[in-house]
Amino acid sequence: MAAPAFLNTLERSGLSTWIRESESAFAYYFVLVIHNIGLALLVGACGVLGARLLGFVPELPLAPLRRYFRFIWAGFWLNVVSGVFLLIAYPTKALTNPVFYIKLVLIAVGVVVLRRIERQMPHDAAARDASPAVERSLALWMLGLWLGVLTAGRALAYTATYILYGKGT
């Protein structure tokens, strides 16, 4: 299969080459560090939220956990931006790998689930008894989907057919 030529053009661009080939500690591995911190914020906060929604610590009030969505969305946007930089560095590697598209789909569904949970979260402690709690199944979807995103992301390092344009593994 011939990969589209624009991948080659993108790979030869100054930014792509710099991220990939610079010896600086603030090039490729810095972007990976940011991506990792974003993952820690998003999946970490989802883990705590999910544990509460699944009933691990029922005595923990749910309403204040709403504030954790700040970290979830901060982690998400950090990873959108750092993810774009990683894509610029290795466009062929990602775009010729089906796992990359699976990851994107999982992220899209994961965002929908997160937004639904955020809407169902009670706004203040008083509403705790009155309003129905967040659906348990949503919590399971959230944990499963973001675990899937994490796994797919890690798998990208081991499943690539091409590393660079015209250069197989």
């Binding site: 500690a25 490729y28 591995y29 990976l32 560090v33 990792n36 911190i37 993952l39 820690a40 914020l41 999946v43 970490g44 906060a45 989802c46 883990g47 705590v48 544990a51 691990f56 610590v57 005595e59 923990l60 009030p61 309403a63 204040p64 956990l65 504030r67 954790y68 970290f71 402690a125 675990l147 994490l150 796994t151 890690r154 798998a155 390092a157 081991y158």
Partner: protein
């Protein structure tokens, strides 16, 4: 960097630590001596943490002394095999000790089965640490029958233990022979990281004043989730190290990560053992923690992110150390 000296400095900790720990733990069963038992459990957990740099510095020491004349390769490999077996029992004892400490806070105290598990694991670990120390000592000071170039003769105990000891090179090969095994270890390491940062982050941020409406007690009851994450990451981290020992030992970012982990052990000790925990434990919704607690919480967060960042930089700093 002189790993030989670092290893010689650290290697007494697991051996003496476990001998003293087992002694105190056994003594705590005469009557009901809870303080003694608690001390023994804390020693097991602390030694389990310090055993990680002890094990890891051994690889550095191995490469440093390999150049010296009169060092028997077979004796070094035997010591490595002994360490590779003992490591898991030390870490398992540490994990069981933390579980026992956690459950001692409940009404009725620690279940007998947990205490029995700690005792059994600690005794096995102490014996294996003794064996590791003996085989390590033989490298520099060979006994008759273990001199360089001659076949190793084992005593009765040594020969029994030796049948369970892995061959270091085969263990290493096993970790890296299949890329899917390696990939699944890395995925697990990232899942563990998320569990730790999520729970530890939530607890520390609450102390620092974020989402203050959360009562501290229930939030802190999530800690076992972080401990599961820590257990997963010590396991996958050490397996990865065994898979590529020379790679990690020659990497400055790896040592930086280990140093941060040791400081986190110190941080946890300050938090739980100096009374800070007892003061934040009863914090209800909206209540503010003391400044000392906030400082300890903030340093824990900084250290955990240091662990993540330096871990991610390991690849970048490949071959950054010479020894």
């Amino acid at each position: 960097m002189n790993f030989d000296h670092l290893h010689l400095l650290l290697n007494h900790v697991p051996i003496i630590g476990f001998f003293v720990g087992v002694g105190l733990f056994l003594a705590s069963f005469t009557g009901t001596n809870d303080d003694l038992r608690r001390s023994a459990l804390i020693i097991f957990a602390a030694v389990a943490l310090l055993t990680i740099p002890t094990f890891v510095s051994g690889v550095g020491a191995d490469r440093a002394i390999a150049r010296e004349p009169g060092i028997s390769e077979a004796l070094v490999r035997r010591h490595e095999g002994a360490a590779m077996l003992g490591l898991w029992f030390v870490e398992a004892t540490g994990a069981a000790a933390l579980m026992a400490l956690w459950r001692s806070r409940r009404a009725g105290g620690t279940p007998r089965a947990t205490l029995a598990a700690v005792l059994l694991l600690a005794i096995i670990a102490a014996i294996l640490m003794g064996r590791t120390g003996n085989t390590g000592g033989d490298i520099r000071h060979p006994q008759p029958g273990t001199a360089a170039g001659t076949a190793i003769t084992e005593g009765t105990v040594g020969s029994i233990i030796h049948t369970f000891e892995p061959s270091p090179d085969r263990f290493t090969d096993l970790m890296v022979v299949n890329k899917w095994w390696w990939a699944s270890m890395m995925v697990t390491h990232f899942v563990g990281l998320s569990l730790i940062i999520g729970v530890v982050g939530a607890i520390n941020l609450r102390i620092m004043g974020f989402a203050k409406e959360l009562p501290f007690g229930p939030l802190h009851r999530l800690l076992p989730l972080a401990m599961v994450g820590l257990g997963l990451n010590v396991l996958t981290g050490m397996l990865a190290f065994i898979g590529m020992p020379a790679y990690y030992a020659a990497d400055i970012a790896f040592w930086f990560k280990l140093a941060a982990l040791m400081l986190l052990g110190l941080n946890a000790a300050v938090f739980y053992l100096t009374g800070i925990f007892h003061r934040v434990e009863r914090l209800g919704p909206g209540e503010d923690a003391a400044l000392s607690a906030k400082i300890v919480a903030a340093s824990s967060l900084v250290l955990w992110f240091t662990v993540i960042i330096s871990g991610r930089y390991i690849q970048h700093f490949e071959d950054s150390l010479r020894f």
